[in-house]
Symmetry: C2
Subunit: 248 residues, 2 copies
C-alpha cells in the first residue's frame, strides 16, 4: 500500500474516485480534515460518547459493534481508509454502538455541525455524501441477505468478496486480488452471526477447495471474478449513480 503524503486529504482522494471536485469544494473538504488523532491497534475508542463529532478514517481498519445482554457481540460494520465514520449517528442523539480499532489507525475528527456548512454551501458534495451513506446502507442490505439465508461457508466467502470489493475503491490496481486481513476470525464471526470455530472451518474449506490462499494474515482470492459468479455476488460498491448530481 503506497504511502500518502501528509498534506494529502484522504477524504478528497476518496471522493475524487466518484466525482470531479472543484477548488472551492476541495477547500471545503480540506477544512474538515485539519486535525489528526492516532490510536493503537485493538483499543476501544471513547470518542463517540458525546456524539458531536464525525471522523474520517485516514489509515487502518476499525469496526463498530454492540454488546448484547448474554455476553455476545454483534459487529455492525467495518470501516476502511477513506470511510466517513459515524454518518449514521448524525441522525441520532445517541451513537449506535461502540468502536474498536482493528489495527493502528489515524482519524480526522470534525464536528457534526460542519455537515450543515456542506449542506448549505455545496449541493454537489451533499449529494455525494448522501450517496455514500446510501452505499453503506446497500452494504448492510447485502449483509442481511448473507446472514439471513446462507450457510456458514457462504457467509464467510461472501464476506471476503465484500471486503475485496470495498478495498478496491481505495487502490488503483484493478487486478489486485490479495489483501491483509486485519480482522481476527472472532471479529468476522461476530459480524456474520457465527462462532470463531465456524469461521475457522470455513477458511479451511475454502483453502482446501483452492478458492483462497493464506499466508500469515494475507489472503489471496485465487479467482475473484469466478467466485463472484458462483455466489451470485453483486459488486455494488465501486460505482454510484452520479447522473442526477447538482453541478456544484
Amino acid at each position: 500500500m503506497r504511502q500518502v503524503p501528509v498534506q494529502d486529504s484522504c477524504l478528497v482522494e476518496r471522493m475524487r474516485y466518484y466525482i470531479d471536485i472543484d477548488d472551492a469544494n476541495e477547500a471545503l473538504l480540506r477544512g474538515l480534515e485539519k486535525d489528526e488523532v492516532s490510536y493503537k491497534s485493538r483499543v476501544k475508542l471513547h470518542l463517540q460518547e458525546k456524539n458531536t463529532n464525525l471522523y474520517i478514517l485516514k489509515t487502518g481498519w476499525l469496526y463498530r459493534y454492540t454488546d448484547l445482554p448474554d455476553n455476545r457481540r454483534q459487529v455492525l460494520r467495518v470501516h476502511f481508509p477513506g470511510d466517513i465514520v459515524g454518518l449514521t449517528d448524525v441522525a441520532m442523539e445517541e451513537t449506535i454502538g461502540d468502536t474498536m480499532t482493528a489495527s493502528d489507525v489515524v482519524l480526522c475528527p470534525f464536528p457534526k455541525r460542519s455537515m450543515d456548512v456542506i449542506f448549505r454551501q455545496s449541493p454537489r458534495l451533499t449529494a455525494l455524501i448522501f450517496s455514500l451513506g446510501m452505499l453503506e446502507e446497500a452494504i448492510l442490505l447485502d449483509r442481511i441477505t448473507m446472514i439471513g439465508r446462507s450457510s456458514a461457508l457462504r457467509r464467510v466467502t461472501n464476506y471476503l468478496l465484500e471486503i475485496h470489493s470495498r478495498l478496491r475503491t481505495h487502490t488503483d490496481d484493478a487486478t489486485f486480488n490479495s489483501f491483509e486481513m486485519l480482522l481476527t476470525q472472532e471479529v468476522i464471526a461476530d459480524a456474520l452471526g457465527l462462532t470463531n470455530v465456524s469461521v475457522s472451518n470455513a477458511f479451511g474449506q475454502l483453502e482446501l477447495d483452492g478458492k483462497i490462499i493464506r499466508n500469515r494474515k494475507v489472503i489471496t482470492i485465487v479467482d475473484p471474478e469466478k467466485l463472484k459468479k458462483e455466489l451470485d455476488f453483486k459488486d455494488r460498491y465501486f460505482r454510484i449513480d452520479t447522473s442526477w448530481f447538482p453541478s456544484h
Copy 2:
C-alpha cells in the same frame, strides 16, 4: 386508522413529525407529491426497473426483497405510510431488489432528479431527508443484530416491537398498542431469516406467555414498555437529532 383528506400531503405530515416546515418548504414538498398511483394487494411492482423514480408511500404496506439462487427469498425492508420508498436506490444505477405490496397501496412517484432541487433549495429539508435515510440505516443495523445473534422467539418478538415502534410515528395516539399485521408469517420469516414454521411457533409461544393477543390479523402487545425492557429493545425510531439542522 383515520381517513386522510385527499389534499393532505402524507410526506409533509410525516416530516412535520420531526421538524417545523415553513411555507416555502411545504410548497417544495407538495410539488413532489402531485401524482398518485394505486395498486392491489400482493402484486409485484415493476416501477423500479428503470430506477428513475422515488416513491412516497401514502397508504398501505409494501416490502422490498431479493430472490436467492436456491429458491429462497430475503425480505430487506418493509415500508409504512409516510416512508420514502427507494431512497437507497438513489445512489445506485440498479435497484437493490424487487418490490411487492402487502396490502392495497397508494404511491406518489417523483423523479430522482427532484432530489437535486431539494438539495439546492433547502438545506433544512436536505438535512431531514438525509437523517431519515440514516434512520432507515439504524433500523437495518438493529435487524442485523436481531438476525445474527438471537433465537427465533427473540427475533419475532423484536420484530413486532420494531413494527410497533415505527407505526407509532404515524399516529397521534401515544398509548396505542395494537395494529393490524399486514404481513404473512412467511414474509416475516423471510425478513428474519427463519421459516414460516418457526414464526408460527414463536407467535404461539408469545400468546401462551401472555405477551400478545391475537384476533384475526390484529395483534395487541399486552405491555409494550415492559417487553421492550425485557429484550433490551432500543426504541430509536421516533426521534432524531435535529440540533444541527440548518434553519431553512
